[in-house]
């Protein structure tokens, strides 16, 4: 897979002693090929992240808005202030619940999809996955209409005599919309691991007298567990850093980590404080995603023997 490209028939005379010239060209080729992209990423990923990490240690003067000097104050207040702790806890709780619901809905759905015959299977896979590509603002707006006081759900409740229920601007709404946004990220890895599963194994379990439930629990579930785990980590990581859903459906009271960073940067203009929260969010996310990477890698290594 990484075979060196065969050096083109050398045009240099056979007597030339510098036959390492093509080798040198081969050695520099990958660096030249990847240089433009590497420069872009150095300038716009590594540099800004480094600057932001530095900024999070800068002092902030609330009177003048100037930054400078060195302080650990932002980290101290983020990690001890009850306002921030409440936001971190809420973000954790909302993300954990969204993840759990995604498992409960997404895993059976992926299983059902994988057992469908072909025209339907492709159609419904498209239906379940394609919303992923529609702007999250549109989806948040759709939920705010569905759950709004004049929305069809409240209309149905009124018609049933239950009366209007206030659903918007609560944790419940945020969780429902997050599940909608994240469900494809759960279905995809579970579907992928189901594709690798030999249906004959499940058939064998059934023909040896296992009940359907036993076959699912003892045969199918263990094999798709890595898929469920990696899906959960992705969903949790993305939910914890979600911005548009809590921003549009959480209202002013219900802050989550991402909306707090936004406020610090664009309302309070306290960039160092916002940077500290952002650095913590990035760190937590990297830990989660690297765990995910390890899980998936381990999974493949085991599969390949």
């Amino acid at each position: 897979m990484t075979a060196q490209p065969s050096a083109a028939p050398s045009a240099t005379p056979a007597t030339a002693p510098d036959d390492d010239a093509p080798a040198a060209r081969v050695r520099s080729a990958p660096l030249i090929l990847s240089a433009p992209a590497a420069l872009l990423f150095a300038a716009l990923v590594l540099t800004p992240l480094f600057l932001t990490a530095l900024l999070s240690f800068n002092e902030f003067d609330h009177m003048t808005g100037r930054t400078g000097g060195f302080t650990l104050e932002h980290y101290r207040s983020v990690l001890t202030d009850s306002y921030y702790l409440e936001i971190f806890l809420r973000t954790f709780r909302v993300s954990a619940l969204a993840t759990a619901i995604c498992v409960v809905i997404g895993v059976p759905e992926a299983y059902i999809l994988s057992r469908m015959g072909n025209p339907w299977r492709s159609v419904f896979l498209l239906v379940v996955l394609a919303p992923l590509l529609v702007s999250v603002v549109v989806r948040a707006f759709g939920w705010s209409m569905l759950l709004g006081p004049e929305g069809p759900i409240n209309a149905a409740l009124v018609a049933l005599g239950v009366g209007r229920v206030r659903m918007l601007y609560g944790e419940g709404t945020v969780i429902v919309a997050l599940v909608h946004v994240m469900l494809p990220f759960m279905v995809i890895p579970v579907w992928t691991s189901l594709q690798k599963l030999d249906p004959a194994v499940e058939q064998a379990a059934l023909s040896f007298g296992a009940s359907r439930a036993t076959a699912i629990v003892r045969v199918v579930a263990p094999q798709i567990l890595p898929g469920i785990l990696s899906g959960s980590l992705i969903v949790f990581g993305l939910s914890a850093s979600a911005f548009a859903i809590p921003g549009l459906l959480g209202g002013r009271r219900l802050k989550m980590v991402a909306t707090v960073v936004y406020d610090q940067y664009l309302s309070d203009l306290n960039w160092p404080m916002g940077a500290a929260v952002a650095v913590l969010l990035l760190t937590a996310n990297l830990i989660i995603m690297l765990t995910y990477h390890r899980v998936v890698e381990g999974h493949y290594r085991r599969r390949l023997g």
Binding site: I32, P36, A37, L44, L113, V128, V137, E150, L248
Partner: protein, 264 residues
């Protein structure tokens, strides 16, 4: 035919309804003749679509988003093709690091990228520049292009290239006449997924756009936090329509299931 039992099919129907409901209601409300967000129970009207086209802010944001997505997808493909060739075809020091770096925007929250770029742009005096916005979008769409390209390049038979070389074709000719056509589905698929991701991007853009470079999702977010009228629904319906076209194209060119599922 399906081998699922009735309970499974009821569950499946509910999931499908759940996934489609918010998109369906947006599309329906967009056609309301009323002044409030309501279902069009008394006939359909296109007045809110007309309102969108007469709203200078939305029109300008639409063009901003379109140019931004076209430019960033195209430039990202331009950078990603050589980079993907380097990563898949050569063993060199730093290869693993570069690979991880090019995929890193997938695991860095866009919020963090947004505030980080805001800081950089403030320092170099690039706040509000459209060119820097394009560069920022290139960063977030490159990983999607890279994944498809790496899959396309490592999946093809090198002996065809070797045959062309041994028959006397120059390396440039081989790339143009053999390599590129063979990875073309990966290139076009990557371009389309990059376009969609750039066009939809909100969280990073909200930090680094200025009033003149505001993109459509940012404009919608701002609009939705202040007032909500059926015009939002009309814009949303238009976006759903554009996305649907892109999805169908993507499905034709590359196969949607391969993009969303296969590369995972």
């Amino acid at each position: 035919m399906t081998r699922n039992g009735p309970v499974a099919l009821i569950f499946h129907t509910l999931v499908v309804l759940f996934m489609l409901a918010p998109l369906a209601i947006v599309c329906l409300v967009a056609f309301t003749p009323e002044n409030t967000l309501s279902l069009p129970t008394h006939g359909f009207s296109l007045r809110w679509f007309e309102a969108v086209f007469h709203h200078p802010d939305f029109v300008q944001s639409f063009w901003n988003s379109l140019w931004l997505a076209l430019l960033s997808a195209t430039l990202a493909v331009g950078l990603a093709v050589p980079a993907a060739l380097a990563i898949t075809r050569f063993e060199f020091p730093g290869r693993g690091f570069l690979n991880a770096l090019f995929l890193s925007p997938l695991i860095i929250p866009h919020l963090v990228l947004g505030v980080a770029m805001l800081r950089l742009f403030a320092i170099v005096g690039a706040t509000g520049s459209f060119g820097w916005l394009v560069a920022a979008h290139m960063v977030i769409v490159t990983p999607y292009v890279m994944r498809l390209l790496i899959a396309a390049i490592s999946g093809f038979d090198r002996s065809v290239e070797q045959a062309a070389l041994s028959l006397g074709a120059s390396e440039a000719t081989v790339f143009r006449r053999v390599t590129l056509p063979m990875i073309l589905p990966g290139v076009t698929g990557g371009w389309l997924i990059a376009f969609i991701n750039s066009f939809d991007e909100l969280t990073m853009s909200i930090f680094i756009t200025s009033p003149s470079t505001v993109t459509l999702p940012v404009r919608m977010y701002m609009y939705a936090t202040e007032s909500i009228d059926p015009m939002m629904a009309a814009v949303s319906a238009l976006i759903i329509g554009i996305t649907a076209v892109a999805v169908l194209l993507l499905d034709r060119v590359y196969g949607l299931d391969r993009i969303l599922v296969g590369q995972h």
